[in-house]
């Protein structure tokens, strides 16, 4: 594979930005945000150069590597710090740095009143660097560094306003739940090393054909655990809603466009593992399907605009995970949906930020309404993102989601029918809750107080929104046209050939659009054409209540893990003091006790000692006499 010494700059630029801003401290307050944005843009430029070079090469010659140094080398465990840029990672590089740069620009204005803006930009740059390392690492262990690096950046950014205890708790929760996923990644690496003797992508791929299926299944399941943690999939999804505590640009970049999609990257990157492990693949599909509906249902019940979007993200990533579990037929579409989702979801999050900016940081959609007139640009850009996510042609989401539905239906047999109906149902629910968001925020009558003065955001904020909305309009078609994207990624996967077609594509599209229309119609009837309370109605069905409580995810986690964990901790603290240390203190007490007992024999009278000595001496002599005669 060709080497290219330019890869390191992709990571080095934002890393330098982060370190400079953190180490210089307050001295960099004045220009820190500019440096950070420049670094992110610079990285994007390097990415574009790499892309143009890559386009010039033949398909087989496109991947390039760069070895930086030997990282860990012990016995047969050898891991180099080296980078790999191929057709898959370049997509991510451009998404991360491109969307990342736009969000940097947006944040300059969004965070302008925060006295810690420099620190915010330092974290953003740190995130970009870690995320790039995640997608550029050429082995699972290198990926792991980026994997936890983005977790750290996410922790720092969720807790950016950690003076509020709830936000600090949210960041801790995100990190710990991510760590459970990371544990899965550790296991996967350990199993890979123990069974295959290597942890690099190319090495594992090479051995994947002749390794036992059990080993591959174990690795695959553990990778899935990792993906589930990072991508907020069922059952490790509970942190994502709370993660909305972070500033909105963070939610757009990390918790919508990039970091949470790392799980999809991991599964698609490990396609060779999953292709060799059908059981693991089936689990992937199941997780994706459950989360898809799970997120969608939560999305219907949320009044907090960011949490509604977060639930939507969870659901959309469910689509991607599902697609990536469908094997070679689905990988390209998973990534394609990931890219289009990156555009429209980031755009909508920025739109939500813009709304909050104009509404004194109010997040409750029941206190919005009629903002279309006051924030025309936000309305239009958000609206384009909305059309894209519900899958109206010719917007981006139509192409990518349609392909996933089609592939799911074509998975064959009962599996195909179940998955197809789940994805179709998901499409309908998505249409419903996104329409609800649109109506509550923009088109329904106003429900805010007179002391709110909604206004359009400054240009620095709306320009990125406009660019992203353009992306959400055209990116789908560009990637779809002539199966361009599928052919782009094809060299990385092993095509298995035969395709069954359950339904012709045009019928699938028709079905999907019908479902979307139903979803939109219900939402319009329920919200646009009827009165909306500005407080959430109390008298609702038990289902709505459960959905509002995030389908009881926190209650389950608390009952199953948190409380038992706390009980174990406090029990062990007691045991350590009373039993383990108690035993030690007991030995000490015993020594003291026997000492004071023996002390009683010491009367202090010399003559009694003398008698004892005499008796002792006599006894001794007698004993010797007895023994010797």
């Amino acid at each position: 594979m060709a080497t290219n010494n330019g890869l390191v700059y992709l990571i080095a630029l934002p890393l330098f930005g982060a370190l400079a801003l953190l180490l210089l401290g307050r001295k960099a307050d004045k220009w820190g945000h500019l440096l950070a944005t420049a670094m992110s843009a610079g990285s994007f430029a390097v990415g574009l150069i790499q892309l143009s070079q890559m386009l010039d090469r033949e398909a087989e010659l496109r991947p390039v590597t760069q070895k930086l140094f030997t990282w860990i080398s012990v016995g047969s465990f050898n891991v180099d710090a080296s980078l790999l840029l191929d057709q898959l990672s370049i997509c991510f590089v451009l998404l991360i740095t491109g969307v990342g740069t736009l969000i940097h620009i947006y944040s300059i204005s969004y965070m302008s009143h925060d006295k810690d803006r420099r620190r915010f930009f330092a974290y953003l740059n740190l995130f970009i660097a870690a995320m790039l390392l995640l997608v550029l690492g050429d082995s699972y262990l290198n990926l792991y560094v980026g994997w936890e690096g983005v977790g750290l950046a996410s922790y720092l950014l969720i807790g950016f306003w950690n003076q509020k205890p709830a936000y600090a708790t949210a960041s801790k929760k995100a990190f710990v739940m991510n760590r459970i996923g990371d544990m899965g990644l550790s296991f996967a690496i350990m199993i890979a090393f123990a069974t295959l003797g290597t942890v690099s992508f190319s090495g594992v791929k090479e051995h994947s054909h002749h390794a036992s299926e059990a080993a591959m299944t174990a690795i695959g399941v553990m990778l899935l655990v990792a993906a589930v943690g990072k991508s907020a999939q069922f059952p490790l999804q509970a942190w994502l809603g709370d993660a909305m505590a972070g500033p909105t640009p963070v939610s757009a970049l990390i918790h919508a466009a990039t970091m949470v999609t790392a799980g999809v990257y991991l599964i698609v990157r490990s396609n060779f593992v999953f292709d060799a492990a059908p059981t693991a693949q089936l689990l992937v599909v199941i997780v994706g399907a459950i989360t898809l509906l799970f997120g969608a249902i939560i999305g219907m019940a949320k009044d907090d605009i960011k949490k509604a979007l977060a639930a939507s993200t969870m659901s959309q990533i469910g689509y991607m995970i599902l697609a990536s579990g469908l094997g070679p037929a689905g990988y390209a579409f998973a990534i394609m949906h990931l890219l289009t989702h990156g555009f429209f979801k980031a755009g909508m999050f920025l739109g939500a930020g813009s709304v909050m900016h104009g509404m004194n940081d109010e997040v409750n959609m029941r206190k919005y309404g009629g903002l279309r007139k006051f924030m025309p640009i936000t309305f239009v850009t958000f609206g384009l993102g909305y059309l894209a996510i519900i899958g109206v042609p010719p917007f981006a989401g139509f192409y990518s989601k349609d392909m996933i539905i089609e592939t799911a239906l074509n998975a064959g047999g009962a599996k195909g029918i179940i998955l197809g109906s789940v994805t179709l149902l998901g499409a309908a629910i998505t249409a419903f809750y996104m329409t609800r968001v649109m109506i509550l925020t923009f088109t329904s009558p106003k429900r805010w107080d007179d002391n709110q003065h909604p206004h359009e955001s400054p240009a620095l904020m709306w320009i990125p929104m406009v660019i992203l909305s353009i992306g959400s309009v055209i990116s789908g078609y560009l990637l779809y046209r002539g199966k361009a994207f599928k052919h782009w990624l094809e060299p990385l996967f092993e095509e298995h050939g035969e395709h069954t077609e359950l339904l012709p594509p045009i019928v699938v599209s028709g079905l999907a659009l019908t479902m979307v229309a139903i979803g939109v119609a219900i939402a319009v009837i329920k919200y646009q054409l009827s009165e909306i309370d500005n407080v959430a109605p109390e008298k609702v069905s038990i289902f709505t209540r459960i959905a509002r409580r995030d389908l009881l995810q926190d209650d389950v986690n608390e009952a199953l893990f948190m409380r038992p964990g706390q009980a174990i901790t406090s029990a062990l603290v007691k045991i350590d003091d009373s039993v383990v240390d108690g035993a030690v203190r007991g030995v000490g007490k015993m020594a003291l006790g026997s000492g004071s007992a023996l002390r009683e024999t010491q009367t202090g009278f010399v003559r009694s000692y003398a008698v004892l000595i005499l008796i002792g001496a006599a006894a001794l002599i007698a004993a010797i006499w007895v023994v010797t005669t």
Partner: protein, 505 residues
Amino acid sequence: MNILSFLMLLPLIGTAFIALAPKTNVLLTKQIALVTTILVALVGIYMTISFDFNAKGFQFVESREWIPAFGIKYALGVDGIALVLILMSVLLTPIVVVAGWNESEGGRWSSKVFYSLLLVLETMMIGVFASTDVFLFYVFFEAMLVPVYFLIGGFGSGDRAAAAVKFLLYSLFGGLLMLASIIGIYVMATRYGNRTFDITTLSQLHTVLTPMMENVLFLGFFIAFAIKAPLWPLHTWLPDAAKSATPGTSVLLLGVLDKVGTFGMIRYCLTLFPEASKTFTPMIITLAVISILYGAFLAIGAKDIKRLIAYTSISHFGFITMGIFAMTSQGMSGSTLYMFNHGFSTAALFLVAGFMITRRNSSTISDFGGLQRVTPIMAWSFFIAGLSSLALPGLSSFVSEFLVLVGTFTRYPVAAVIATFGIVLAALYILIPVQRALHGPTTPGNENLSDLTLREKIAIAPVIATIVVLGFYPSPLLNIINPASQTIISQQGFSDPAPTMSEGK
């Protein structure tokens, strides 16, 4: 003169100068101590550079008759493992002196006593890692207790006398068992014609020992080391000692002295009694796994910041012990690297905790709060130290922890899997105090705390730099460690398990 002897002599010369310094001039005493420790560190670095990575066996060897009647020699020498630990000790000592610049004041005795004890302790720390004569090792092993006892009991805080006595009795108990084993070895060695305490000669002794004999002698050593390292359930002295000692003393206690336990397991338990080591491995691995989880749970439940750090160390020592007895090159090298890294990450935690405690006059975690807004640099230092303790990739402890886990997994998958749950608990035991102490609203009384002074920054910066640099580039240390750990594993008759896949489908 041999460089190791020179290294050991230097602190003693410093002690002599301190003894000559006038009692009223505390500053001069401190300066002498600082200069001495820096010199020692420089010599230590020089020694590391001149170490030959590829040569087998001990280097910088020196051997003189000491008590010829018993074949006892003053014999020094280092392999890669010992070298790394000596390097860690001599690097940490000047940092401790700088960070704890005012620790010596307010003790039971004068600063002169404090720094004399510290320097004598440094000599002994070097000696204990450098000796290649079992008896000489024992002498250092026991003598080391004396300065630590006085450092805790004379300059600590709270219930310092009780903690010092607890530490001393625990250690003496272990030392006694070890002495019995040493005498046993000597008797056996004499019976088979070698009146010597030389480790290399004695490493052949196991071929003539009966299994019963070997097991008993092994246990004598192992229990002593398990107390030192501390391994569950012999750990209860550590939290008390760490809480009562000054932060600087705690750094040396947990960072260096406890390593004598794990170092001893490698150098003495494995080398002298390979068969017994194999016999007891399942039991030891079990204890190590218990330590990992037990220490982590107790750290989560700890309310005092110094006790918390002590419990995290118990968890980390579980990892180190597990890696040693996994008997794979990854486990062994990982454990040795872990010892080095743990020294630095614990040092960072303890030093920053010390800075926090001196400012607030309390070591209860809930007394802090919102420090990130008040003292950002101190908060960041604590946070990075904490991240190192939870083994975040990119920081040094990740490399070692992962090596230990991978190395253990290839031979004992179940133990490795259970131990890996420790990394989730690690996230909890670090992030909970981070949240309580650094995040949230500023606790009343903390509004005017001052951030780190220049001296404190100078002390903490090299520690953090080491943590970060070794996280990305551990090769220099691994190159030193690998040949030594390879030698030990092959001596034991082990080789790394081959990937199972190669055995066919």
